[in-house]
Symmetry: C2
Subunit: 256 residues, 2 copies
């Protein structure tokens, strides 16, 4: 199977490496900037381009991993002259219909990717969809080679899955970042001391649902502590507002 | 060393078990309700009471693990008749001065505790403080027997450490709970599919700071996706507000 990667960001980089490691033939990489394109192409031992026109014709599958806005703006140029090929995007938030071609697919590996941090693709839940049964089979073959947990999921449910992932990954990670900021500003305790707590918070979810396992001042509705902590955030009005919103929301979720 | 535990909640339960496992003599448990007191006392093989008057006199150390408000209301009754003893509280958010006695200490194991979920006390960063050098030594001996990472930290810095822990543990966990809520409401994908993403989000922090490792729509400032996701939360106004606040805060933190 002959594959072209359109995009060279975190997801494309990890996907490309995993495709190659599993014996797939990645023929070419496109990226808007020549530098990103060449870095990933070198990793994969293939050619690269930074112009839509020069994207190879005749590949079996084109994987599109662009920022959603870049994809929306350029979808027609990406497909042009390759209308018979199969296009597969990797965005959790975009519906299958976004692809302006006949043979459409979605391959959404739900994970947080960084270019320089290896992840085990086998463990990544991967959600797939396609415009025909035969193309679903094709995508499923690729997906099952790369990952041990593959699910067929429609666009509408996938949108909510992706939104859930934004809360579980990006927003949770931002809570860690705000915690780090507080430590930097007060006392200088290194952020590393938080890791056992964070690890246990994640590990606990394997045994108890996050709602049932909640602890802390808002879960106990200990207004004594909450008021004092709000006052400590007077210099950080955004964090103060986040503190108030999150505490209220914890309290409401625990009582419904 | 003869120890009395005042409190029988999640922290007291885990602390009591660890003290006992390390050979300390827990003589008695106090809890407001007879049931909680008896459950923990049975676990530790000691006596119990639900009245402040009947708390044993003459113990070497009294560990106080009550909800902050319960502690504030009852501090005098707890100490009364035991003025010469050493009292140690376990609350991250309370200062050393809160204890109305001469020999005061703090022993704050920074972890999220559930009664039925065993945690490895050895790995818990534990922050200690005391009103005299000799009592600091005493607390340090206990702490170093229980945990491999013990830090001496003053009350003011500990307050911010605890606030940081609220963000890193309780608020992050609430993001997981909100993600779970979305999955329940849409499509019925089981929450378990989020665990690899959450595990990786936590694991990543051992290599990259949360600020530098942030990904997702707000980090890319992909307003296309963000607007669509906000619209998906129209039925959940509180979650919509949290989405907006968190996204704005992610954007601002990445650019300072």
């Amino acid at each position: 199977m002959n594959i072209v990667l359109i995009g060279a960001g975190n997801l494309a980089t990890n996907l490309g490496k995993s495709l190659k490691a599993n014996g797939f033939d990645v023929a070419q990489v496109y990226s808007r900037t020549e530098e990103s394109a060449s870095v990933l192409a070198k990793l994969l031992g293939c050619s690269y381009t930074n112009s839509f026109e020069n994207i190879a014709k005749g590949a079996d599958v084109y994987f599109v991993s662009l920022k959603d806005s870049a994809f929306a703006e350029n979808a027609k140029d990406i497909v042009k002259g390759r209308e018979e090929a199969m296009f597969v995007h990797t965005a959790g938030s975009m519906s299958l219909d976004t692809l302006p071609c006949k043979r459409r697919g979605v391959f959404y590996p739900m994970q947080t990717f960084s270019k320089n941090k290896e992840v085990d693709f086998k463990a990544i839940p991967t959600f797939i969809e396609a415009s025909s049964d035969s193309d679903l089979k094709l995508i499923e073959n690729v997906a099952k080679t790369l990952s041990n947990s593959v699910y067929v999921l429609g666009s509408e449910d996938r949108k909510y899955l992706h939104l859930s992932a934004v809360f579980c990954c990006n927003f949770a990670n931002h809570c860690f970042a705000l915690g780090e900021k507080l430590l930097k500003e007060h006392g200088g305790v290194p952020f590393e001391v938080m890791l056992p707590l964070i690890d246990e918070t994640a590990r606990k979810l394997h045994a108890i649902s996050p709602r049932d396992g909640q602890t802390g001042p808002a879960a106990r509705w200990d207004t004594n502590v909450m008021d004092k902590q709000m006052a400590m955030l007077d210099e950080n009005p955004d964090m103060k507002e986040i503190y108030a919103m999150m505490s209220k929301s914890i309290h409401e979720l625990s009582s419904f």
